[in-house]
Assembly symmetry: C2
Homo-oligomer: 471 residues x 2
């Protein structure tokens, strides 16, 4: 049975693209090295027709499929379980940029395109594909769409969902749905595209997508502001929204402790105002007119913010190198945090207006529960999305902390998120890591509708089982 399926898969994609032996770590282990699975085979189709044939072959054999892009997911959604019975369907060979339509501001790409290649292809046509996130050098656009990826430009351009106009999908029956329209308006029935986006491979396999492009801005400037409190950071966001409107393409908040870890572990980086300010805010202003106009706008905003007492100090990067340095500080937080030791990560969102109260209350609960606990709080404040991470107390046994406290810390944070009307997974998805938590935090009516949809579109339950919805 197993051998027959492998033979069939070989005949579909070629023997060289069915991996069963040797070191399959790259496909079997997740990005954060939290889990290590065992695949029946790693299958690497080279076309949509091959994907469809692979899905039909697996369906016929009753074998489950785990679709995989760049394998950079953070919730163990793209690696196989330990049973050795699941086929990993890797899209990494499907990397064609099928077309770019400048006048329509769209491009059609295959699922295995690396996000950075998509950005570069757009740039090559003089346009912008704005999705941007830390893993962009490795993650694929198919994975970005399957998980509805977020990143740093969401407050202006939306999540991956908002950047996709059409999809090509192989459904659980192995049929190809060609929904690759480059249309900004199409009201001919249920928006299936939206259902597949963010469904983490549990309903079908995204094989290609038509993406929205934008004109490139004439200039993008970066500023760093020192802010006395989270409440004032929210006020700064309000001011920036009013004055820069769609020009505001980045608004990242970083707590002093998070920044102090960067200063400690990456002493070569200059971290602005880290000694003096409880919070740092990184702002990006993208301007379609000119750099001079962008700078004048930025300076006007920051002066007004200082006069209003919202900002105590600020600097606008003088050139691209300085801007990159500021972004580099922001992007170094996860690494500095890892260098400081083991920690408990969260990816939460809360209505922006409630973030100051959420942080104050949750900080207090955690500090009371675990004396000496250290909070590494940073994130995309413009989207209400915080990476509210919890670091072991100094000089303690971090491994023991993680073993002993992770469940309790997660419960405290997630209960608070729930109380404040937020989401326990803002941008990373559910995968298998958080699937057991949905029943506690998600409406039972929503869960029962999700189950009905899963049953309707994947009645055999072979598409990425155990992810998002538990059986």
């Amino acid at each position: 049975m197993k051998a027959a399926l492998i033979e069939q898969l070989r005949s579909i994609v070629g023997a060289a693209q069915v991996l069963t032996d040797g070191d399959l770590t790259a496909w079997e282990q997740d990005w954060r090295k939290r889990v290590r699975g065992k695949a029946l085979a790693v299958v690497r189709p080279g076309s949509t027709a091959e994907v469809a044939a692979v899905v039909r072959a697996c369906a016929g054999a009753g074998v489950s499929i785990v679709p995989q892009g760049g394998n950079t997911g953070l919730v163990c959604g793209g690696t196989p379980d330990e049973s050795g019975t699941q086929v990993v369907l890797s899209l990494q060979r499907m990397t064609a940029v099928r077309s770019i339509d400048r006048e329509n501001l769209t491009m059609t790409v295959e699922a295995g395109c690396i996000l950075q290649s998509v950005q570069e292809a757009a740039q090559g046509a003089g346009l912008l594909f704005p999705l941007s996130l830390a893993a962009e050098g490795s993650c694929t656009i198919g994975g970005n769409l399957a998980t509805n990826a977020g990143g740093t430009q969401v407050l202006r351009y939306g999540n991956a969902r908002e950047l996709c106009l059409g999809l090509e999908v192989v459904n659980a029956q192995g049929e190809i749905w060609d929904g690759l329209a480059g249309l900004r308006k199409d009201n001919t029935g249920y928006d299936l595209r939206q259902l597949f986006i963010g469904s983490e491979g549990t309903l079908g396999v995204i094989t290609a997508a038509t993406l929205k492009l934008y004109p490139q801005p004439a200039a993008a400037l970066t500023a760093w502001a020192a802010v006395p409190s989270m409440a004032l950071a929210v006020q700064l966001l309000e001011l920036a929204n009013e004055r820069l409107a769609a020009g505001l393409t980045g608004f990242e908040v970083m707590g002093q402790f998070a920044l102090s870890l960067v200063a400690k572990h990456h002493p070569q980086l200059r971290v602005p105002f880290v000694e003096d300010s409880p919070w740092g805010v990184l702002l990006e202003n993208s301007d379609h007119e000119s750099e001079a106009h962008a700078r004048a706008q930025f300076e006007g905003l920051l002066e007004a913010a200082m006069e209003a007492g919202v900002v105590t100090d600020a600097v606008v990067a003088e050139n691209l190198a300085q801007a990159h340095q500021l972004w580099h500080v922001r992007e170094s937080i996860p690494l500095a945090q890892a260098e400081e030791g083991l920690n408990i990560k969260h990816d939460i969102s809360v209505p922006i207006s409630r973030i100051p109260a959420f942080c104050e209350e949750t900080d207090a609960l955690l500090t009371a529960a675990i004396p000496g606990v250290r909070l590494v709080n940073f994130g995309h404040l413009g989207d209400g999305n915080l990476h509210y991470n919890v670091q072991a107390p100094e000089h303690g046994d971090a491994a023991a902390f993680l073993r002993g406290e992770e469940a309790r810390v997660n419960a405290i944070v997630h209960d608070q998120v729930h109380k404040f009307g937020g989401s326990i997974s803002a941008e990373h998805g559910v995968g298998s890591l958080k699937a057991d938590k949905l029943p506690k935090y998600k409406s039972p009516v929503a869960l029962s509708m999700m189950r009905a949809i899963k049953q309707a579109l994947d009645p055999r339950g072979t598409m990425n089982p155990g992810r998002v919805l538990l059986g």
Copy 2:
């Protein structure tokens, strides 16, 4: 049986809110007076709990429900059939603005809120709710979301879909799903919100929504440009996107014949350049800085367009009154067209880059098929959405034309739309008017997935049957 249900409905919403006698034209006849149905009863619940109880009562009796908002739909999706067996569930009493959250840039409103009231409530809080369309004084936000309404601001702010962060829905089982989160990022499972938006009441009843708000622009200026061809109109759009970027909040194209009908039937309106120019384009530039800046940007764009030969003449409105006049010309086209006589309407979209070729080819096909036919072509070029309407030849019998030619004209236009990768319903939806056309133009794989979802969420088939999907 019937009497027992009516009794039960009366006990749920109060006898005064169950209409069975008298003139029910307002609920039984569609906006364009194309169909006149007969309801078992018109039920007007006052709360979400009442909606849920009504749905449960009807489900128990096996009676179908037709949800209705402002009854301004253009595809016969919200009026009952002629059988006298369907309950019209009118949301018009649920008009509360439940909350406005300025810092989160969101508001939560009930489904029966008139769109204009939503706009005004946002304005009252110093913010902008950008959805705007001709029926805004009568249509409801619940209907806007159920049909994923479009309108004139889509190129900047998106369709109704993109303006909604959360929904409250009564599903086909009469359960209440509270999905009213004001979150810009939430990746905890399938995006049910997106499934209900645009499903035209066939999966459940939208009872409330959390909407995105934006800062109000400092100024919004309107310009009118004379453009020699549709290809040059597309070039003007490209230039405007580059120079105004997100400032470009309106881009409407209007053919000379469409404008000549306005000039003929509404002689009090001054239609710019109507004698001399094959096309007129209405542009809106919304600026967060100042009116002076908006004007300078606009003038720079139009000068560049004239130098490039894209525009032959242009005018920027000097004040609000002039701007309103220009918009009034655009909005008078449907009325002037009706005054000219019966005509065949389309609501299509095509990739923007292909619109010139689509128009050229389709004009030629229609003119060859029906000598003397007159084309009233206008629409939201920024979204690739044209109202490509077909007027009877002059001096002919328009009623006979409509009877004899509507099916043939629709087939020519829709076949062309299909050939050019477009949609036969860009913003109006499917309703019962176009439900029979989907099987010809929509992928069978998509249709079978839509049917599976309908069956999963509404297994009894009592939610707005015969709309979107035929039995």
